[in-house]
């Protein structure tokens, strides 16, 4: 081994134990003053350690039959089809997985044209052969056995003609998928009612149908360690920050695992703080929501076999928004958002505030109310903390069982829950009626949060706050609140602060709690680092007498300036 290699190996070995000081404390940020954190990954796993070097495709039919059969364990795998066709210009070998290919399409688009060709081998050129397969749209030339394995695994028909050291991978796959249905967790009253399915092409159709522009990119992310084209990164060229696209591509390409089962699984690999209780992205099943975020400068990731899109970067406020906010008139949308914000606060703090008031600061509430609470608690032998914990657990059991139970006996859960929680526990003296009221309001508030993952996060936080309140009263809640707020301000979703534009404060962005009038929302969120900040034209309602005349003037001014600007650019 040369001296240079020795040094390199030593450096790589050192990286296992010592953190490079230049990378300490650096996180990805959209700020222009911060460069992305670039650390070379040294511990990459080889997908096929037995065959490190790629082997050329053999020319003879017998050799390729043998090589492919051993590669795919054809004798143990009845699903694997290996056909040899005799033609006037030599033998043709066809390999594919029966389960992934439409047999009729193979017959019409591949076998029929190839067999019907009447030519001598000497006259046949590779280009002629390729031109024969016009019925199939995707043809890829393959020159190594390893690449052929990747193509066949990805569901393509592999065609080899005797005498050529090159082969073709032809797309003739089935599109087995369920039909497009209504969303399950993001339902709306007004608005579109379609949702993503497991088939990626259908999903891309649903998106492209809504955004028919050439700048809408659906980039397949190549991951050499697994079957290709499993992941797609979606963004809008000219809008989304290139730094953001590059960073997401880098994070996706770094994934090196056997299989990713769903977008929820992928989330852990690409998010900055996977240990956090909050998700730093939005997993949505709605195409309209995906498009809306793409137009605001986010990146979406879709996966074959997963009926969801992962949107990043997002903010906490966008997790509190619902697509419906934009489909209703603005006062209704704003009111719904305010209600949701109150619901979020109630869902996190109400039980803990109750504990703090009852156990530590009864002087706060009116004497009559305090006496009423005390009389209700008279028969209960447990402390308030245990009462709350008991009911929380009961609610969680009901929720979990309602998810698992077959639909036929689903209503039973409601009846059992109502009897146990509504009546029996009070009569048995386990909890006081007021705690039931508190918990019922809390649970209802929790379910009014539109993003389902956030509902789960809130549940965990609620328990933590209950613990803080039962230990230190209001002071405990304050400490917990500060820790929570600090955690939230420190979170970033793909380089964008999670509480933007509230913290750090960016006064220009309006779409947080109050839903602005759509025709006044001219700019995209500035904190997303978008290339094109203008979302819509300045003058949206020229016919309206209330539109200030200054806007008309400004519009005509910019219109008259434009040709002059163009001329200047040409010069």
């Amino acid at each position: 081994m040369s001296l240079l290699n020795w040094k390199k190996s030593l450096q790589n070995f050192k990286k296992l134990f010592v953190v490079d000081s230049s990378t300490q404390g650096k996180t990805f940020s959209l700020s222009s003053s911060r460069q992305p954190y670039q650390r070379k990954v040294t511990l990459t796993r080889k997908y096929n350690p037995k065959n490190k070097e790629k082997r050329d495709i053999p020319v003879a039919t017998k050799d390729i039959q043998k090589a492919i059969a051993s590669l795919f364990h054809a004798n143990k795998n009845p699903d694997f089809v290996n056909r040899v066709l005799k033609t006037s210009y030599g033998q043709i070998s066809i390999f594919y997985y029966q389960s992934m290919i439409d047999a009729q399409q193979v017959q019409d688009a591949v076998i029929e044209p190839l067999v019907s060709l009447n030519a001598e081998q000497e006259q046949l050129s590779w280009e002629n052969l390729k031109d024969l397969l016009t019925y199939s749209h995707v043809t890829k030339e393959v020159t190594t056995l390893e690449d052929s394995a990747v193509q066949i695994s990805a569901g393509r028909v592999f065609v080899h003609v005797e005498g050529f050291a090159i082969a073709l991978a032809v797309k003739a796959g089935t599109r087995e998928s369920r039909a497009v249905e209504s969303p399950k967790t993001e339902t709306v009253i007004r608005g579109a009612n379609d949702s993503f399915v497991e088939e990626i092409r259908t999903n891309l159709y649903l998106l492209r149908m809504r955004l028919s522009i050439p700048e809408f990119i659906a980039e397949p992310i190549e991951q050499p360690h697994r079957s290709q084209e499993r992941l797609y990164m979606l963004y809008i060229e000219g809008v989304t920050s290139p730094k953001l696209v590059k960073e997401m591509r880098r994070r996706l390409q770094a994934i090196n695992v056997d299989a990713l089962h769903s977008i929820g699984n992928l989330e852990h690999y690409v998010q900055g703080r996977p240990l956090s209780v909050f998700s730093q992205g939005i997993t949505t099943e709605r195409p309209d929501r995906t498009i809306s975020h793409l137009l605001e400068g986010s990146v979406a990731v879709m996966m074959k076999g997963s009926p969801n899109a992962l949107l990043m970067p997002v903010t906490l406020w966008s997790q509190l928004h619902s697509p419906e906010d934009y489909y209703f008139r603005w006062p209704i949308g704003t009111f719904a958002r305010v209600i949701r914000l109150i619901a979020l606060i109630v869902a996190i703090f109400l039980p803990s505030l109750y504990i703090a008031v009852v156990n530590f600061h009864p002087e706060m509430i009116r004497t009559e109310l305090m006496l009423s609470i005390a009389s209700a608690r008279e028969r209960v032998p447990f402390p308030t903390f245990l009462e709350i914990l008991f009911l929380e657990l009961a609610f969680e059991f009901i929720r979990e069982s309602a998810l698992r139970i077959p639909n036929m006996i689903g209503p039973t859960i409601g009846i059992v829950g109502a009897i146990i929680i509504g009546q029996a526990v009070v009569e048995a003296g386990i909890v006081s009626p007021i705690v039931i009221v508190i918990l019922a309001i809390t649970v209802l508030a929790g379910f009014s949060i539109p993003y389902y993952t956030l509902t789960y996060s809130v549940r965990i936080l609620r328990l933590i706050f209950v613990f803080f309140a039962s230990t230190f009263g209001f002071f405990g809640i304050v400490v917990g609140l500060l820790l929570l707020a600090h955690h939230l301000v420190s979170l970033k979703s793909l380089g964008v602060p999670f509480l933007s534009p509230v913290s750090p404060l960016r006064p220009g962005n309006q779409d947080v709690i109050i839903r602005p009038l759509p025709y006044l929302q001219e700019l995209r969120p500035t904190f997303m680092g978008v290339l094109n900040k203008q979302k819509e034209a300045l003058l949206q309602r020229p016919w309206d007498v209330n539109t200030p005349s200054e806007i008309h003037l400004l519009k005509s001014y910019t219109r008259s300036k434009k040709p002059a600007l163009r001329k200047k650019k040409k010069q």
Binding site: T367, V478, H486, S490
Partner: protein, 367 residues
């Protein structure tokens, strides 16, 4: 050094909020009582008079920082007087910030026990507070400042509303005699409390994190004026509600003020709610104190990171907080030392500025 622009920048609003928290913490302790004891009914004027001096001092400080742009205060000291002095002054300021924070911690802990948590041991309260400080300080000034900025508007509204609710019980003649115990007593009181806004020096430690020197200058001046106004506002309401003799005998003055509020309809008393304001400002303020202490030590020693200093400093912080046997002893000492502590806080920067003005340019020319 850890503190560099590559590690992030601090916004003007966030830094402003952080300074407010750090300076204002002392107002929730016994300070209003001490002011009213010394200056009488004109105690509200003391924060305004101190402000005049503090503005002058901050002007000198920014002048010094402007001469050495992109350097923090301790790096400037190193540049002027060498590494050894940088280390000594770094240790000195770390100690001073730590002592201030420790005293505040002890008094606030005692206050919590006497008002809200009578059955909780002092150690439990102090431990949870110090653990919170370490957590908040560990993630750096950027997040701490953002936290301060996030809470600031809410706390401000709650603070003002609470005080205005207490106004109904006031009496305007409590302000008389209008000049209190006389001009001389007012002057002495002003000198005794000259260090009310000394924590503004924080900005000098984090100076490289500002995008422009102008931002730092604007932040400092705005913070001083704003915080002085709220010192004045709280003192004025306190004197308006409590006559001088009552006001100079109350344990935790501003808290007593909120205890007067009777809201009526649903809530009877709102003093535990005021605790949200008071505890939030104090905890963030003291966490900043611990952060500056660790940062000062790291900058003095030219260490690459301040974080390893946090935990040992937290242990020392607790040790100092537990040093006094009783709450009264801690309050008594806390009253005495701000006047002395102000000497290094103002003296060293002014000395450094004079040095830079007189000698540094000459040395550079010689080079």
């Amino acid at each position: 050094m850890k503190i560099r622009k590559k590690d992030g920048v601090i916004g003007s609003f966030e830094a402003f909020c952080l300074c407010n928290y750090l300076i204002y913490t002392k107002m929730f302790l016994a300070m209003p009582r001490h002011l009213i004891e010394e200056a009488g009914p004109i105690a509200w004027a003391v924060p305004i008079l101190v402000l005049i001096f503090s503005l002058l001092f901050f002007y000198i400080l920014t002048n010094l920082l402007q001469r050495f742009e992109d350097l923090s205060f301790l790096e400037i000291i190193g540049e002027l007087w060498g590494s050894s002095m940088q280390w000594i002054i770094g240790v000195l300021f770390a100690f001073l910030f730590l002592v201030i924070t420790a005293y505040q911690l002890r008094i606030i802990g005692e206050f919590l026990l006497s008002t809200l948590l009578p059955q909780t041991p002092l150690s439990a309260v102090l431990f949870i507070m110090v653990a919170t400080f370490v957590y908040l300080a560990y993630f750096g000034i950027e997040n701490l400042a953002r936290l301060a900025g996030l809470l600031f508007p809410w706390l401000l509204v709650a603070f003002v509303v609470t005080f205005l609710l207490a106004v109904g019980r006031g009496e305007f003649y409590n302000f008389s005699p209008w000049l209190g115990y006389g001009e001389w007593r007012l002057f002495v009181s002003t000198v005794n409390h000259i260090g009310i806004y000394k924590e503004i020096l924080l900005l000098a430690f984090i100076a490289p994190l500002f995008r422009k020197h102008q931002t730092l200058r604007r932040t400092g001046f705005t913070s001083l004026i704003f915080v002085a106004f709220f010192f004045f506002f709280a003192m004025a309401i306190y004197i308006y509600v409590f006559p001088v003799h009552t006001g100079s005998e109350l344990g935790f003055p501003l808290f007593q003020l909120t205890r007067l509020v009777y809201y009526g309809a649903f809530l009877q008393r709102i003093d535990p709610l005021f605790m949200f304001v008071w505890a939030s400002i104090s905890i963030v303020g003291m966490a900043t104190g611990l952060y500056v202490s660790a940062l000062s030590l790291a900058q003095g020693a030219k260490a690459s990171d301040y974080r390893p200093f946090l935990f040992p400093l937290a242990v020392i912080l607790l040790a100092i907080a537990f040093y006094h046997e009783s709450s009264m002893e801690a309050v008594k000492n806390y009253r005495l030392f701000p006047a002395y502590i102000a000497i290094p806080f103002f003296g060293i920067p002014i000395l450094a500025w004079l040095w830079a003005l007189l000698f540094h340019r000459q040395r550079r020319q010689r080079q």
